[in-house]
Amino acid sequence: MRGTETSPSDFFTLENGLKVFLLENRNLPLVHAVVGVKAGSRNETVETSGLTHILEHVILFRGSRTRTADEINRDIRRHGGHFNAHTGQDFSLFEMTLPGGDADFALRNLADIVFDLRIDREGLDAERAVILEELSGTEDDPLRSALAAVYRNLFDGHAYSLPIAGTREGVLRITAEQLENYYRTFYTPSNAALAVVGDFKLAAMKGRIRAIFGSLPPSEAPPQVFDPPPRLRRDQEITLEMDISQPLCLLGFSAPDCNHPDRFAVELLAEILGRGVNPLLGSALRSERRLVESVSMLYYAHELAGALIVILRLDPKQGKAGGRRALSVLRSSRRLNFSPDDVYGMERGNVFDYLQSAKNQIRFSSEKSREKGMSLAVLLVRQMLLSRGESSGGFLNEMDKIKSFDLRRAAAKYFSSGKAVAVYVVPSNPERRR
């Protein structure tokens, strides 16, 4: 790789079980620190839906045992800190970015806020009200509503079907005692990982980490054993009506989990069909009639299962035709030629090398992921919490091994044989136009 600076890094585990990854990057005077805790919406039930998300809010905004929320917020602001958190299906993330000189402050705060929480009824009620606002915002958003509907149906009967932010019923029902028990069970160093990326010296940072996080008491989190989601038995079509003028369609398919060997082929398949400069699915849907305005594809690889989500912005005059045609194209994608290697003789010149194009795109994305310290820190935490480390080479090496045959096999397995969830979001009042 030409002209690329190397970044010193280190991975180690503290005696209390906390996994740590440090990556020195002196390009900007910022330090990004992320703590990930392996507890997410998969640890919930219908009755406790929203528990992890409420806890994330309480941790983020309601103070620790030694400082009030107001004190913490003012401290963070005084140091110019950016502070945020996210809840996912498998884990929760707590992120902090500060100017490089304030690395010590960032780490002490993360340790205090995440691992020394004070939970009280008042703080819980306050965040409950804010979360109900957040839920309304999600329900008003066509894309997020459609995505929630895809997950609800694709993973029906499994905790992955529950909305990450929770249901209104769940959010109103959860008690401070439940929150406290959940926190004590899962928010332990051995069930967490820390990544720090940015402007620091590796050796000095290692010492700081040991001093700040090494003193957290060890405590074993219970083993987390889950069944994978059941297979979707039949195709589903759901229609949501909202105050929009641009109809939307999301198609959801089951996909391999984040440690499954098929994940590399599926990643490339998603690139070819629904991402990149001119995705194949987009061309197919615009070649005859203009059925869609835009196409994109996401691959969410969770620990227990994955989801391939196709997002189509439909032409308002074409109804659901774009979604149905997309489904048909994807079902038959196993027969596509992805590379000149798929044909013989003179035909080779007529087949575009989608496979190589996708590999180039993934190389580009991989380089790009190194540019933003926080994104990189999040990737590292995710890797520490979820990866079983079963692949023999690095991510790009594994990608390079994929052949066109692997893509067709993956297309057959996940698009042709698998059932799909189609969610349409259509205008509730088609006559109303600005």
């Binding site: 900007l28 910022l30 800190g81 380089e367």
Partner: protein, 446 residues
């Protein structure tokens, strides 16, 4: 508490803004290890270059000084449509070659300029440039392509009107600047776009795509000489010439300052927008500080609406820099039944900031938050190259990116409070409400 509430202080601040005088001394230390270089290609096109070896990527920004403000009367949308045609590959072979490079292209049109963004693996930069330079320098103004892009723009317009924050921004800009120029949607209006013909677009292209009207910005792990020679080789057919004509910025004091829309949603949107003075480095710093103290980060002024009053999940403020006059927008989203209470508290916060100003500690914290946000936004090289070019085109200087830290720290409490008193005066605001009409279904709780 501030003592800068006197007319005298406001006048001093106004003079500082108008004359571009600086307050306290600026600290010029750049946060980046490599400086921004200002270069010129053989054909006279300006190039801003910064070395960055942290990844093997090259980001190229092609800035055309021909944004909404340059669009001829009645032709809103022509800047976007013309620039979009410049990215249309002339044939299938070129399109496939571009796909193979896996180099993403994107386009955005703003008040003062349009920006074409190109990213590629550095080893593929020349091939990407070779493919892209052909339509850029010789676009095809075919009716079929134009009609197809007009349909796409109609889709983009619909999306712009659908999301409350972007709808509110559109309404405010239109109120301040009218239906054209800064006030127009980048994607035009149904009528104006329908009326655009290929000859209009060709004429617009001829006037805008000229050497003196283009600014390039590159951040790469490849050396400056290497990049310059590639750009010279592939962009040698651009016509020489001077800047396109800019329409004067017409700012009106809108008669109707309270705009109301309805939407069938669970949440209502409450926003306010303030017109700011013509852009200068000082105004930029003051506006960035205002954005920060109102709605960026924890413990900002709007934070209490979320944290203590539980009136909102989403609170924000944004500074929109235009060369002729900037705009500061602030907003929150709240459940419909809290609309009246939230609006009252929201407006009271704005009034208090304008009337009472800030103290030194709050200003210092706002400057730190603003700087962290600024550095975060400029970590990725495409965003940084974008800003390098935009700041130069806005008249802030090619090295503004390196100077912002010193500028933010140099703003005094008196200067800040004079700015807030004058420009955040509630009487000057446009208030937007997008009232939701849907109710939350009752749920049974224990």
């Amino acid at each position: 508490m501030s003592s800068a509430r006197t007319p005298g202080a406001a006048l001093v601040a106004a003079a500082v803004l108008l004359l571009g005088l600086t307050g306290a001394a600026e600290n010029h230390s750049s946060p980046w290890p490599h400086p921004i270089q200002r270069l010129k290609l053989d054909n006279g096109i300006g190039l801003l270059y910064q070395k960055d070896g942290s990844s093997a990527l090259t980001s190229l920004i092609i800035l055309l000084r021909g944004g909404r403000r340059s669009e001829p009367e009645g032709m809103a949308g022509s800047a976007y449509l013309t620039a979009r045609l410049m990215l249309e590959m002339p044939d299938g072979r070129s399109a496939r070659s571009l796909m193979l490079q896996a180099s993403p292209l994107s386009l955005s049109c703003w008040g003062d300029f349009c920006i074409i963004e190109v990213e590629s693996l550095s080893e593929r930069f020349e091939d990407t440039l070779d493919i892209l330079s052909r339509p850029l320098q010789d676009p095809l103004f075919s009716d079929i392509r134009i009609d197809s892009l007009k349909k796409y723009m109609s889709h983009l317009r619909r999306r712009e009107m659908e999301e409350p924050a972007s709808l509110a921004r559109f309404l405010c800009l239109r109120s301040f600047f009218g239906a054209e120029g800064y006030g127009a949607s980048p994607y035009g209006a149904d009528d104006s776009v329908r009326a655009l013909r290929s000859r209009d677009l060709s004429r617009f292209y001829e006037s805008v795509f000229r050497t003196d009207n283009i600014l390039l910005a590159v951040i790469s792990d490849r050396e400056a000489e290497d990049i310059s020679s590639l750009l010279e080789k592939h962009l040698q057919n651009i016509r020489p010439g001077g800047p396109s004509e800019l329409r004067p910025v017409a700012v009106s004091d809108p008669l109707e300052k309270n705009l109301l829309e309805e939407k069938d949603t669970l949440q209502s949107f409450i926003g306010a927008a303030f017109l700011l003075p013509p852009l200068s480095p000082r105004v930029f710093a003051l506006a960035a500080l205002t954005e920060s103290l109102l709605g960026k980060g924890v413990a900002s002024r709007f934070w209490s609406l979320r944290q203590e009053k539980r009136l909102a999940y989403n609170v924000s403020s944004n500074f929109l820099p235009f060369k002729g006059a900037g705009v500061l927008e602030a907003y929150l989203e709240t459940e419909n039944e809290k609309l009246d209470e939230a609006r009252a508290v929201f407006l009271a916060v704005l009034k208090d900031v304008s009337n009472a100003g800030v103290e030194a500690a709050e200003l210092e914290a706002a400057a730190k938050i603003a700087l962290t946000e600024f550095l975060r936004r400029n970590e990725a090289r495409n965003a940084r190259a974008w800003n390098m070019a935009a700041y130069e085109a806005l008249g802030l200087g090619h090295d503004f990116l390196e100077r912002i830290s010193g500028l933010l720290a140099s703003v005094t409490v008196e200067e800040m409070n004079a700015f807030l008193a004058e420009w955040l005066d509630p009487a000057r605001a446009i208030n937007v409400t997008i009232a939701g009409t849907k109710s939350v279904e009752p749920v049974s709780s224990r």
